[in-house]
């Protein structure tokens, strides 16, 4: 048998020095950036009781979550598959502020099934959440921060996609669909499978008016013309649906004004993360990648189960995906100074300490080691000149 003990499970990866350096550089820049916008970093647990991890988040996240039994309590534990609900709990249960709260986070999540390109099951999720304000202004702030994140990472040619889960929810309610019918239609809508959507609606006993509106939904996507089309096609929808269309239109107009260069696509049937999103949903796409590179939206009710419903909006992205699709400026490799081995030389030790304190990289030779300064990728070395250790180029 071949020795395959080095092999990692599917969708689990490791980063080698060059990638790790680039990723860490980006991580620091992003967190500093979020801090400059007033977003406070929180660190959530990697593992916790399943019921608190999954409360109010729906079945999708349940299937995505690795589970194990806690030997201490006998209860089921889950490894986080999404950090957003954890951060929402921090806001609702621990902080309990009345003012707007801005939080950001970064951490590895694990997923039983990959849902992105290159099939990663261990994304490095980074994101920001804004609690305590309902309205397009806070959505706009989150969207701007999401775009700045992509720009900082060096992701180019971004397309924004804008939708609102309230439209489908409202139409389903108006048509009186039961949970099974809503789920079946939801599934077909996700695929914009118009023949199946029409067949399903034909089976439901709904009014012709509702049938026509539900059928039109899959076709309501494209540029800002869609808003006008929606106002006509869904004219008989109830007030919630009309308000949702107005909300998307207002956010789209505000976006075009604040971020003129970014192409905007509307998709009123987009139901991304439908199970905890409550309002506007958005995503960023880049050419050549089938899935979104960053996504977010409004989720006003998730804090309810932790004692307090607050308006909430946020975005998240996988830092490793961003690194893969980005064209970042090349990182300068720091120059390293090679320090030859010398027994009992206080002058050398002192010099090394000084250089390191000044921010230089000093790599010490080890007695009897293989290779020299050049093969250790050092550009300089310490040399004893007139009894003094001096840095000289190789």
């Amino acid at each position: 048998m071949h020795n395959e003990r080095w092999l990692l499970p599917e969708g689990i990866d490791e980063l080698l020095p060059e990638q790790a350096r680039a990723l860490e550089h980006l991580r620091r820049r992003l967190l500093d950036h979020y801090a400059s916008w007033g977003y406070e970093l929180v660190i959530t647990p990697f593992i916790e009781y399943l019921e608190s991890l999954l409360t109010g988040t729906g079945k999708d996240l349940d299937l995505q979550t690795f589970k194990l039994t806690d030997q201490l309590s006998g209860r089921q534990l889950g490894i986080r598959a999404d950090i957003t609900p954890q951060v929402a709990r921090i806001d609702a249960h621990h902080l309990r502020r009345d003012e707007p709260t801005r939080l950001c986070y970064i951490g590895t999540v694990l997923r039983t099934r990959s849902d992105g390109f290159a099939a990663s099951r261990s994304p490095l999720q980074i994101g920001a959440e804004l609690y305590g304000h309902a309205g397009i202004e806070s959505d706009l702030e989150i969207l701007s921060l999401m775009l700045e994140t992509l720009n900082t990472a060096g992701v180019e040619d971004i397309y924004l996609d804008l939708g609102h889960v309230g439209i489908f929810r409202g139409l389903a309610r108006q048509a009186g669909l039961d949970a099974d019918q809503e789920a079946a239609l939801f599934e077909a809508l996700q695929r914009k499978a118009q023949p199946e959507i029409d067949a399903l609606i034909g089976e439901f006993s709904v009014t012709d008016e509702c049938a026509a509106m539900l059928s039109a939904l899959a076709g309501l996507n494209g540029d800002d013309e869609v808003i006008n089309k929606a106002r006509i096609a869904l004219a008989n929808a109830d007030d919630d649906v009309l308000a949702a269309i107005d909300y998307v239109a207002a956010l789209g107009a505000a976006l075009t004004q604040t971020l003129p260069g970014v192409p905007l696509h509307y998709d009123l049937a987009e139901l991304r993360a439908y199970h905890y999103q409550t309002g506007v949903v958005f995503a960023a796409f880049v050419p050549g990648l089938g899935n979104e590179v960053a996504r977010g939206g409004r989720y006003d009710h998730i804090g309810e189960v932790f004692g307090r419903a607050r308006p909430a909006t946020g975005f998240s992205a996988d830092l490793k995906t961003l690194m893969r699709v980005a064209r970042p400026e090349p990182l300068a490799v720091p120059e390293s100074i090679f320090a030859p081995w010398a027994d009992n030389d206080p002058g050398l030790l002192q010099r090394i300490r000084e250089l390191r304190r000044a921010g230089r990289v000093v790599v010490r030779e080890l007695p009897g080691q293989a290779g020299d300064a050049a093969s250790m990728a050092c550009s300089h070395q310490l040399q004893l000149v007139n009894g003094e250790w001096q840095v000289s180029a190789l």
Binding site: R191, K192, A193, Q194, H265, F285, L289
Partner: protein, 227 residues
Amino acid sequence: MHPSGAQLSDADTDMNFHTPLTIALSKGRIFKDTLPLLKAAGIEPVDDPDTTRKLILDTNHDNVKLVLIRATDVPTYVQWGAADLGVTGKDTLMEHGGDGLYEPLDLQIAKCGMWVAGFPDADLAARRLRIATKYVRAARDHFAAKGQQVEIIKLYGSMELAPIVGLSDLIVDLVETGNTLKANGLVTLEHMHDISSRLVVNKASWKMKHATLSELVEELRSVVEKG
């Protein structure tokens, strides 16, 4: 990557392919049936698909390429954006699951049925039936919906052989004329799905090349509706 500013050399249509498009097709029946639809929408391959050994075919539009791949690979190519759109059977799509794809149009070509088949005296209600099929997901879902627990045996071809040699009790397969079944003493027992080819589109392409793609879909829709 692609030359920009394609020259329109076709008079059949007003479509402008300003954005590069890659269309995934599978050789054989789907390809044959799709070509007239594409032609009506103004897209024709330059190379003769029957004689060329190329896997990427140029068309009369500089910006539009056809890639020829295995039928079961079409959803995968389109899902990951290796092709912007493609044509694939509903049978293949059901097995794939359709993640990351839009299926806006039933092209009404390569029509057939997915059936449960077996010997005329087969007992459809027996417990723990063994089902030989290429369509594992569709078969499992079909029997589960009937409340029946079955054993699925995954095969890649010659399904008809399985009941004859005692490998399975029944098969789930596509049936067009039923001649192969008949020649082997088998009959169709239960209809599962009507199958036809669907246009599938990559989600990101749909958003980023929306003007071109939606125009193409509408063009194809009108061709399909005319019959």
